[in-house]
């Protein structure tokens, strides 16, 4: 089936199998930041945005993004690098495999929540699993990032 969609501001017209999942479609087109971490829609690693909504690309048919806008990490490089510096300076990452999905969801949260508390940050990000760390470094990085950029963060504990 032929679909037409916009990925990171570039238009694609592709002929694809109807049961192809969005994650495989995006990887096939070379958007390799999008990765699979589980088979059960549980890990959050495959996170992308469709029309600016944060979703799991492993659980969506590629044909259903016909006429829609998809954003992957490649499409928001500058912001991702900016946040990445906060993660690095907190020493938050170990293997880093969880990062692409995690960064996508943090940046979605920044757009959706105004002045989130620590609890609402944790709640928004609870679908992003990291098997190496204890999430504490990430939480510090997020708070500093939100404080340093638009959005702010009024967490109870900081």
């Amino acid at each position: 089936m032929q679909i037409k969609c916009t990925i990171n501001n570039r238009i694609f017209v592709e002929d694809i199998q109807v049961d192809m999942l969005l994650i495989d479609f995006l990887r096939h087109l070379g958007f390799l930041s999008v990765k699979r971490g589980c088979d059960t829609a549980n890990c959050g690693l495959c996170t992308v945005w469709i029309d600016n909504k944060t979703v799991l690309s492993c659980s969506i048919l590629a044909v259903s993004v016909n006429e829609k806008h998809v954003t992957t990490l490649e499409g928001i490089q500058d912001e991702a690098i900016e946040f990445g510096k906060f993660i690095a300076s907190e020493g938050a990452e170990q293997c880093g495999y969880c990062s692409p999905g995690f960064i996508m969801n943090v940046l979605a949260m920044k757009r959706e929540l105004v002045n989130p508390t620590e609890d609402s940050i944790k709640h928004y990000l609870s679908g992003n699993l990291c098997r190496c760390t204890g999430y504490m470094g990430q939480l510090r990085a997020i708070k500093k990032f939100l404080n340093a950029t638009r959005g702010g963060c009024l967490s109870e504990s900081s």
């Binding site: 109807v18 829609a41 549980n42 492993c58 044909v63 259903s64 990000l125 609870s126 679908g127």
Partner: protein, 260 residues
């Protein structure tokens, strides 16, 4: 891995129903989260997203939730954050993550009638009906116990009463399936205690609800009554004995929260 030969976005609910009944391997696509984990080979996948069924509508006496409404829409809905002490909002909050809830639909969740369903447990404590294309409008309780017939769940209709409600669940970790789910409501002096993830499908503890409606001070008797009138089972998340003990604690917490 599931497979699909064809994908269709019907323009009307009649067309969708016709397509569904054309072939036994045609299937309605909800958020796909459950479907894609299976191994079935489907013929046509029917996507209901062009039928305007993705809204939550507040009427004079009811709240209607379309089948394509996502769990995240429930979570951030103004109406559902206002009514029933946010019962439905609280019931979906712990389901995996925001990205997941932006995909999972009300139709897929209710039609599937999963034993572990948080949403079903909560809806059962309200005055809820489901609107099926062929089956018409029927009480949720009847729908839960019906055999699985091929039909389209169009929307959920909740009577907008002044019911107070409480949602309680126990999970091994924040985003795991519930070990036990309890939803309780009080309308005037009438109580409803719904228990799900036992691990069987949610049901109302009728005698216990009745007992509490007559003697709201008898919480302990109501808890004991509830665990003796319904079956609890064992699975990897917990034993029947453990669930019975949990049920008593969660019912008490719910009742006390409503009485506060």
């Amino acid at each position: 891995m599931f497979t699909l030969k064809d994908y269709i976005v019907p323009e009307s609910i009649e067309e969708a129903s016709q397509l569904l009944n054309q072939n036994r391997n045609n299937v309605i696509l909800g958020g796909l989260l459950w479907l894609k984990m299976g191994n079935k080979n489907y013929n046509k996948g029917i996507d209901l997203s062009k039928l305007g069924l993705n809204t939550i509508i507040e009427n004079e006496s009811s709240i209607e939730i379309g089948c394509m409404v996502t769990l995240r829409q429930i979570e951030i809905s103004k109406v559902l954050n206002t009514y029933f002490n946010s019962l439905l909002v609280k019931s979906v909050k712990n389901i995996v993550g925001v990205q997941f809830r932006n995909c999972a639909t009300v139709g897929g969740s209710v039609y599937s009638r999963f034993g572990f369903s948080d949403l079903l447990t909560a809806l059962l404590a309200l005055d809820t009906h489901v609107h099926l294309f062929h089956g018409g409008v029927i009480p949720l309780e009847e729908f839960i116990n019906m055999t699985y017939k091929k039909d389209i769940l169009i929307k959920i209709i909740i009577n907008k009463d002044t019911r107070k409600a409480s949602y309680q669940s126990h999970r091994k970790s924040a985003t795991d399936l519930p070990v036990l789910a309890v939803a309780i409501s009080r309308y005037n002096s009438h109580w409803k205690i719904s228990i799900g993830a036992r691990p069987n499908k949610a049901m109302i503890a009728l005698k216990s609800s009745e007992l509490l409606s007559h003697r709201p001070d008898q919480i302990e008797s109501a808890c004991n009554q509830a665990v003796s009138e319904m079956k609890f089972g064992t699975n990897i998340r917990g034993s029947a004995e453990y669930r019975r003990e949990l049920a008593k604690v969660l019912i008490r917490r719910g009742v006390e929260e409503i009485c506060r």
